[in-house]
Subunit: 217 residues, 3 copies
């Protein structure tokens, strides 16, 4: 449709803002997990940093364009610190069991699948591989959080879809880029769709077929 | 023996083919683990990608020559997808408990210790350190698979040797390169030897001495 | 105070020596964990390498200046091999339960928070972000060791402080650099302080407040 999509001037700001919001949402999920597991404030700060920054750091290491954003830009230190503080002062509480954690996790997932894909595209990765990298960015932060805290990663939870909404969002995000219509508005729409998709799948307990056909009837 | 070993023209193709086969074998082991743990098809695809691509991605990140192969070459998406499909349609089944999984894992181990070492050597890493990187490549995919799925990693299983065959294969592979005789034939022989070594060690339940002498009598 | 701090000529040697010592201490903690878990000698060597080299490799990958030290300099192979041998021949034994392991872990923590911060600063990372990287270096080796062996990571242990001494050491280390007074002597003093801080916190069972205020009374 267009020979070389010219990234809009504000794209960098757009990605930075969305990325920082995604970091915040995942960081809250980390601190809430720490509260649920009765870890101390140090464990809470640590899980906030790991869940918030883990996905983006792995993405940037794979893209291999110098020091990862999270270690180059001090702004990235703020969202995890704020998240741990909000949980500590109980301005964000767990609500009914795991529900609040999962809502924040879903918001982080929605933002990171979009920013991950766009960051990869901006670094010159092809649209198809950028989808893979977007899904990885979205999934890795929560995965590190769960593995380190010895929880079964959410991606394996049979009730609700996790990677599928991320794949959907990364695919749409990559398509918007190819079509040259990736803007604040379209980005927001994709993120809302992913967020809604994930939450509806949780509420309705959507499930995917088993790993081996007929194994789980 | 030779001043500067000239890599054969077909070396790149050789390594790509072997690497893709190794990805496939490890990917099958990931999907079989998902089936055994009654994860869904998403978890199966995820473990196929993680087990299949994890070792090579870590290797490429350490070598630090741009974007890892698995994220640069779309061919790498095929083996994990095929592996998850084969397990889903039960064209590969678990056989008696964990046996099939371990056979595919052994095949992946045999291929990756060779391709990991050669990729490192081709990137200018010294022969001794290439052995360390080869073993890491071979071991990391299965390790990530087991850690994420909360299994005890196969490397700690007291029955059968895991890292030793990989070390043996990486060492031989590095030696072949130094001697300038790394070809399709010699590579195949080393991989067969590693595969056989691993399977015989499993069947005969070979074990290594304990971490502390006399601790385990 | 000074416009551009000129790194002393011996800084490289200083960092290498301290880094190798830190690798040794963490490697011993890995082998001791293997002995306690009754893993075999292979598992012991593996955990020695993972705990000893893990933190530095992650640090070097994030700094993104070529192949990580541990894969570029064969000297790094020696400390983990020596550590596994010392544990095997029972020249280092577990003493009373986990105590010896924790002493070696504390020594590694003390050294790595300093060398991690300095390596980051030498690579041009800003003083504030270098602190984050120093803490990461100090914490990651032990974290990988515990996650892979399926232990609850020491950082989540409610009795004793882990990340706080590392943060204290990284902060001081970064300050020394900025003031231009980072030398053998000051480095040694910081490391001793971190080591003592960690051990006293363990003995006195210092604890941090819970992740959510009032949650744990």
């Amino acid at each position: 449709m267009i020979e070389a999509f010219e990234a809009p001037a504000y794209l960098e700001t757009l990605l930075l803002v969305l990325d920082l919001c995604g970091v915040f949402f995942f960081a809250v999920s980390g601190s809430l997990l720490a509260a649920r597991r009765q870890f101390d404030i140090i464990g809470s700060v640590f899980l906030a940093f790991l869940a918030g920054l883990g996905g983006g750091v792995v993405r940037d290491i794979i893209i291999d364009e110098g020091v990862p954003n999270a270690f180059a830009n001090p702004l990235y230190l703020i969202p995890p610190a704020v998240a741990a503080a909000l949980v500590y002062f109980r301005l964000i509480t767990q609500g009914r069991l795991r529900r609040t954690l999962l809502v924040f996790d879903a918001a982080g997932l929605a933002l990171f699948c979009v920013t991950g894909t766009q960051t990869a595209l901006a670094a010159g990765i092809t649209p198809v591989m950028a989808i893979l990298l977007g899904v990885s960015t979205a999934v890795v932060g929560g995965l590190l959080r769960d593995v380190v805290a010895n929880e079964v990663p959410e991606i394996f939870n049979p009730q609700g879809l996790y990677a599928v909404p991320a794949l959907f969002g990364s695919g749409l995000s990559s398509l918007l880029w190819v079509l040259g219509v990736f803007t604040w508005l379209t980005a927001a729409l994709v993120m809302l769709a992913v967020f809604a998709f994930r939450l509806v799948s949780l509420r309705r307990r959507w499930w995917a077929p088993g790993a081996a056909h007929g194994w789980r009837s």
